[in-house]
Amino acid sequence: MIQAMRETARPARAEAMVPAAYTVVDHRRETHDTVTLTLLPGRGTALPRFRPGQFTMLSAEGIGEIPVSISGDPDDQHDGRLVQTIREVGAVSAALCRSEAGSEIGVRGPYGHGWRLASALDGDLLVVAGGIGLAPLRPLIRSALGRREHFGDVTLLAGARSYADLLYPLQLDAWARRRDTAVTVTLDRPDPGWTGRVGLITGPLAETAIVPERTTAYLCGPEIMIKVCADALAARGVPPERIQVSLERNMKCGVGWCGHCQLGPHLLCRSGPVCRWDAVADLLDIEEL
């Protein structure tokens, strides 16, 4: 290998890989393992505006960088704020969850294809969220409710393991109190005193009345949940191109250079994470793709 560093022309940058410094201005514990951070950019480092369903790469310095969806309100991006909800599953997510107000973290993005809402105009929206999957769906719901008059029925089904694991319970309550929105929450393991639904999300989904030709569905959660629900909806006649799912694969760069997030023809950081069901249904059927 060549060692000598002879001629030095202009130094190379890797702009796309260098995170912008953001400050944590709010640290809110959602559940025992999940935290929502509100981030503000440092001077002159604000990133472009995000769209619902997009994600950023968040860095904990010296620990690592991971993809995290944006869970804030797309209509409230003043000062360049970002709101992100992180579940602690490993070293980097744990370090981010520990980031108290005032600390700094690195942010790149926003990246990826988000939820398509324009194509659902005048139709019904069906949102199905499992666990942490509610986080990337929240900006979508907020966006839709902010333009409520453009849509027909808006239905949200959210599943969680237990009440303690349920994300944004107050927010869900507030949505549920709206007359123009139907919200159903189901728990795998009900707590004593829980009067709501119990069991997998497929139960309420089957019972939800839909007009397939008017419905656009938005799904996010564990891959197996996505598959079962999307298949059920397709079987009930919702056109696969109107079922949108947000998928997860390992991501190291978020910008299409690292090759990790492939799902067959897709680089999920670019053509995803939100994909149309017709583009991925067959792929998810294949084991270990």
Binding site: A4, E7, K252, L289
Partner: protein, 363 residues
Amino acid sequence: MLFDHPLPEVIDRAGLDQLVKLLQADGYTVVGPTERDGALVLDELAGGADLPDGIGVETGAGHYRLRERADGAVFNHSAGPQSWKQFVHPPRQRVDAPEPVRRLAFIGVRPCDLAALAILDGVLGAAPYPDDRYLARRDQIFVVAVNCVEPGNTCFCASTGTGPAAEWGYDLVLTEQEGEGGHRFLLGTGSVAGEEILDRLTHRTATGGEIREARRAVDDAAGSMGRSMPETDLRGLLNRARGSEHWEQVANRCLACANCTMVCPTCFCTTVEDATDLEGDNAERWQRWDSCFDPDFSYIHGGAVRKSVGSRYRQWMSHKLSTWHDQFGTSGCVGCGRCIAWCPAGIDITAEAAALAEKERTR
């Protein structure tokens, strides 16, 4: 565009040394094939004398040997263990600190490898998120290509449409000739920078005979490739083969050692790791080559997506020949044959493609 050039010029073996010197004088670090530990590797050349005169190679599946040539040819060898990728997309790089860029001159880039550079340009250099580091390095490279007149046993660029003639993407292009008239190189230019260098080289104009001979040699090369990809729609074939039981069969032979991805001139995958010193200050972020054969490559919380070796081989081959089209608009394979030669188990991508095609035909 050797043959379209109004009149190709000719330099002799000494002219090649002179070319190396001129490039060095212009501040380039000249990199080219040279012998080390029983293979032709790509390394910095002190001068033209480091080029492998008279050394040929004998390749096969999982097989590579140097051999002495009867002639003094410098560039008639193929499928070394390295590719130019290592210079434009190095095995390890820090991504959170600027890095000085060297001016490199590549000598002896074969057409398949020119195509590979073009593919990397499309992967790493393309909008909306170009890799500035890659582009900065790429920007500083002077390319001396060679037309291929002697394909090896593992070569199949004719069937991937990426050789044996260098079409574009070079500053200078050489065609090596031996025999009557001595050892010489026809020289064409592909850029202003190339023309400037040519002006300073001792050269003469090529004769009609020499040009005709060069054209014939390259044409012959197209017909004498050691291997070929089956003539079928590979993109569709691999698409349809996702569920094939063939992957299991390959898995019995595959070592999952990642050699194919490391030697491939277009495989670009990387991973990123943070590092700190013991005090915990001074964080650094490093990118290094990764491989779809690595167990952690597809890791997401809860476990890897591709656990079996078969699924990893399927990922690799499908990406090269099929899904690369979906992602980057071209095939990811340029027919250089490195993955065949440098697979310790001798697994051959052309043979596996043929086997898949055959299975589909007989089903």
